[in-house]
């Protein structure tokens, strides 16, 4: 495959043709912040935090969707770029609850990290803010849309699994939000609580309810495990705090790895030191169910009992 050579921050890099500036920079060891870019489902180009300066281009292009070309010169931290990134961060903060102190995502949040990186302490802009009610409608996922930065990664990852596409963008402009049909709480939708969206959300808009209040993000050691409940082999993390396994969270979703609730619950039962009772929707209401019921093992268990009773 043909390759191209470009200069990023004075450093020459050679990459295959078709590589984005973002990936070329990564190859050169240069970090560019991203919110909406998802290596699995690329080319969305919406958050604009990844803009860079390329002399000869009219504006500041987004590096995640700009193809590297021969002889291209890229500056990733020029004054114009820094001004743009800080302003975008300020704009996000102007419409974001300053809630880091109690936020589950504290310490593992890109918005927080980038504000630190660019010295953005708060927003200079005051005005309208969203005040959506907290969506606490189901036992697995807490949605705080006031923290959502509309990167769209949850939408795209959910739609990757045939028959899901539970959420999508709704409304327009400043009122845009991520919503299930009819803008109901997630608990009233067809969500299967697989956790794909949680795995990709760059901020604290989506968090695990079963992990709430159990620890701070930096207290956890993450131990990868592979689910074996079916052939897909989805990846999960065991969250270990003080030697105890506190919860199981979904890791990198992908096209062949759908993730599902059953898999996650199964791993919780298998690994957690103190597994919490599972809940399932029965007649539209969430109720506590037995593990056998949650994992779909009732039939198997019955049969086992029968066989053993013989």
């Amino acid at each position: 495959m043909a390759s191209v050579t470009l200069t990023i921050n004075g450093k020459k890099v050679t990459v295959p043709r078709g590589t984005t500036v973002l990936d070329a920079a990564a190859q050169a060891g240069i970090f560019i912040p991203t919110f909406c870019h998802d290596p699995e489902i690329p080319r969305f180009g919406a958050c604009r935090i990844c803009v860079v300066e390329i002399p000869g281009m009219r504006n500041l292009p987004a590096s995640c969707v700009t193809e590297a070309t021969e002889g291209m010169v890229v500056e990733t931290e020029s004054p114009a770029v820094v001004e743009a990134r800080s302003t975008i961060l300020e704009l996000l903060l102007a419409n974001h609850p300053m809630d880091c102190l109690t936020c589950e995502k504290n310490g593992d949040c890109r918005l927080q990290d980038y504000c630190f990186r660019y010295g953005v302490k708060g927003s200079g802009f005051e005005g309208r803010q969203h005040s959506y009610p907290l969506d606490d409608s189901n036992p697995y996922i807490v949605r705080d849309l006031n923290k959502c930065i509309l990167c769209g990664r949850c939408v795209r990852t959910c739609a990757q699994v045939e028959g899901r596409a539970v959420i999508d963008f709704a409304y327009r402009g400043f009122d845009t939000k991520i919503a299930p049909p009819m803008d109901t709480p997630l608990g009233e939708s067809d969500c299967v609580y697989c956790g794909r969206c949680l795995a990709v959300c760059p901020v604290g808009a989506l968090t695990y309810k079963r992990m709430a209040g159990k620890g701070r993000s930096w207290e956890y050691d993450k131990k990868p495990v592979t689910c074996t409940f079916c052939d897909s082999g989805c990846q999960f993390n065991l969250n270990v705090k003080d030697g105890k396994i506190v919860g199981v969270t979904a890791a990198s979703p992908g096209p062949g790895r759908p993730l599902c609730l059953k898999g996650r619950l199964g791993l919780e039962l298998l690994y957690c030191d103190d597994p919490q009772a599972p809940e399932l929707k029965k007649d539209g209401e969430f109720v506590k169910v037995s593990w056998a019921d949650a994992l779909g093992l009732e039939g198997v268990l019955d049969k086992m009992k029968k066989l053993e009773g013989k």
Binding site: A62, T87, F174, T176
Partner: protein, 650 residues
């Protein structure tokens, strides 16, 4: 044979299923396949009925049925006229023709009598009997209905003498208002589809692209991209299937040229698209029309149906093997769908959120196929370029902007309406010679060009030639062609706020800078207009404008700061007056106005006291009255009522 489109006799074998290659040419010059004087004669008569030759004893009454005139009541004129004609036994001698917009909607309903070109304005139902009796039975012009020069009072006998028309160069609009837009025969009688026939029979697709390149035509949808070059890209793009798409989503608030072309001359757009299809190798096209344009959609449907009926559109057109099919898509109300990638994704049935480019539609457009997307006016220029040649077209305009441009001239100007002028004309000529200057003896302040993505030009730039590059360098842009004239009573901060209100509510919400940035810029402008601005706000505005312009994903965000940047550039003092002196120099921002009664002038008549809805005025009869500023809601009701001009707005 009653209609130009009919066969002259049984020797004619044309049907859409087995088409004759000379069908279109035959309409005007026929019969071609056989010699028959009677057929030729019939054809000539029908043609003479469509376009009355000068000196014809027959008459034709053109009634404007554009949106403007219809809402001023032109619909009633048609029935009334037909009644009157029947009553006077004139039905056979006088033809009534319903046309599209003439461009001078403000003077509507308009009526033109051919072949003398008599131009009646503001015609009401009551006037019809008089017109019939005097002008059509006799030959006496009804003087009181003629257009009169607002300055001299001089009446204009024909539309050619009306200054509004005299200085225009109506190339794209030449049919608008003169032909019946619901009859394909009217279009063909006026050389319609001749350019397409030339392309199809005399030129290869590459030569068509070359011809358009030679013409120097640039996109009329805003960006000004060279049309021939775009066609060339689509021609070269690899693909088993290609599309032609017409952008008729005209969303710029204050612009209606595309609408008038669609309503007044829909076949010109069809012909342009078909020619494009032949040139780029596409066999299918879509016209994406704004939902608010029901009449345009109706006219397009009729035009497409007629073109199909006669085999001008469809499979094996004129037996050349070229197929072309057209579909209409009605928009659903989102300005951003005028942006090309949003438009295409909307046709596909999605939320109209723009996507990143490249890939450009020329390579990957509708359903991933190479797509040639142009604006209505761009396509409407094509038939004449093909008919008269690219070199002819390139002889008009300036070095880099060729041909003409249609503008929607509105706002504080005497003659509002659609004007088509050669590129390179000065703004002053458009506003003062054609537009007739500012009404009410007010002083000109600025003209906003290019709508929400454009900018304003102040007095000192009035001699700027109107072409793509001069406008861009002055911080404005050609945009789609809205021209809004503002006088001394228009506040420039308020205008910037107005445009931001528009873009803020039309932002699709996909990218951060535009979604959040327009909201904050609008809030700052609103505060300034309300007298709550701070000097730092100007810096914040400048920074936001710069960042949004530089980083937004699509053209909407990238251009929406232009109204702010250009008003800051030319009218910064107005911003400062709002912030520091808490004054609106134009007297437009209600929150910054004060109303006081001049005790010297007040005669104590008490009229203002009655007019005030807020009970803010007190005073004894015959003694000077006073306004309580705490109660005054600044509605201005009191001012006009005072005979002694004692109430001062400042």
């Amino acid at each position: 044979m009653k209609n130009l489109m009919d066969k002259c006799c049984d020797k004619c074998k044309h049907t859409p299923a087995s088409p004759c290659k000379d069908y279109i040419k035959c309409r005007k010059e026929g019969p071609i396949c056989h010699q028959d004087e009677a057929c030729k004669q019939k054809r000539a008569e029908i043609l003479a009925d469509i376009n009355l030759p000068a000196g014809s004893p027959k008459r034709q009454v053109l009634i404007c049925a554009g949106t403007g005139c219809t809402s001023s009541g032109s619909g009633k004129l048609v029935n009334k006229l037909e009644e009157e004609l029947a009553a006077n036994g004139l039905t056979d001698k006088v033809a009534v023709k319903i046309t599209g917009c003439h461009g001078f909607c403000e003077q509507g309903p308009l009526m033109i009598i051919e072949p003398l070109k008599t131009f009646y304005t503001q015609v009401q139902e009551e006037d019809v009997a008089e017109i019939v009796a005097k002008d059509l039975v006799g030959s006496e012009i009804v003087e009181r209905l003629l257009y009169k020069d607002p300055n001299t009072g001089e009446p204009a006998k024909t539309y050619e003498n009306v200054p509004f028309y005299a200085l225009q160069k109506r190339l794209v609009l030449h049919n608008c208002g003169h032909i019946n837009a619901e009859e394909i025969s009217d279009y063909i009688a006026n050389d319609g589809y001749a350019g397409f026939v030339r392309a199809l029979f005399e030129l290869t697709p590459d030569q068509v692209v070359e011809e358009v390149k030679t013409s120097g035509l640039r996109g009329r949808g805003g960006g000004g991209f060279p049309t021939g070059m775009k066609w060339g890209f689509v021609r070269q793009a690899q693909g088993d299937k290609k599309y032609v798409v017409c952008n008729a989503d005209e969303g710029d608030p204050g612009a209606f040229m595309d609408r008038s072309v669609l309503e007044g001359d829909p076949h010109a757009v069809l012909e342009g698209m078909m020619t494009c299809g032949y040139a780029v190798g596409a066999d299918e096209g879509y016209i994406y029309v704004r939902a608010e344009y029901p009449l345009a959609i109706e006219r397009l449907k009729i035009a497409i149906a007629q073109a199909e009926e006669y085999g001008v559109l469809g499979d094996n057109i004129l037996n050349t093997g070229f197929n072309f099919h057209l579909k209409i898509k009605a928009g659903a109300g989102a300005f951003v769908c005028g942006e090309e990638t949003a438009l295409l994704t909307s046709i596909e049935g999605n939320r109209g959120m723009p996507r990143v480019r490249p890939p450009f539609p020329a390579n990957s457009g509708l359903w991933g196929k190479p797509t040639c997307l142009n604006n209505v006016e761009t396509f409407a220029n094509v038939p004449q370029i093909l008919r008269n040649g690219g070199t002819w077209y390139a002889s008009m305009g300036t070095e880099k902007s060729k041909g003409t441009k249609i503008f929607a001239l509105t706002g504080k100007v005497n003659n509002t309406g659609l004007v088509e002028v050669p590129m390179g004309i000065s703004m002053r000529d458009i506003l003062f010679a054609i537009g007739g200057g500012i009404p009410g003896g007010k002083k000109f302040k600025a003209v906003q060009i290019g709508g929400p993505s454009g900018g304003c030009l102040p007095d000192e730039l009035l001699d700027l030639p109107v072409d793509y590059d001069s406008l861009t360098s002055a911080g404005a842009m050609m945009g789609s062609g809205g021209l809004v004239v503002m006088d001394e009573t228009t506040c420039m901060v308020d205008i910037a706020r107005y445009f931001l209100t528009f873009t803020q509510s039309e932002s699709c919400g996909k990218c951060t800078p535009c979604r959040e940035g327009t909201t904050r810029m609008l809030e700052i402008l609103t505060r300034i207009c309300a007298g709550e601005g701070k000097m730092e706000d100007i810096d914040s505005l400048e920074r936001l404008a710069r960042v949004v312009k530089n980083t937004a994903l699509c053209g909407l965000g990238q251009t929406c700061p232009n109204p702010i940047l250009s008003t800051l550039r030319y009218f910064k003092d107005e911003y400062i007056a709002h912030i520091q002196d808490k004054k609106c120099p134009a007297g437009a921002c209600a929150a910054l106005l004060t109303y006081v009664i001049d005790p010297e002038k007040c005669k104590g008549c008490g009229k203002c006291l009655k007019n005030c809805p807020a009970e803010a005025i007190t005073g004894e009869k015959k003694l000077p009255h006073v306004i309580d500023p705490a109660k005054c809601i600044k509605c201005g009701s009191c001012v006009g009522g005072c005979k002694f001009e004692a109430i001062i707005r400042a």
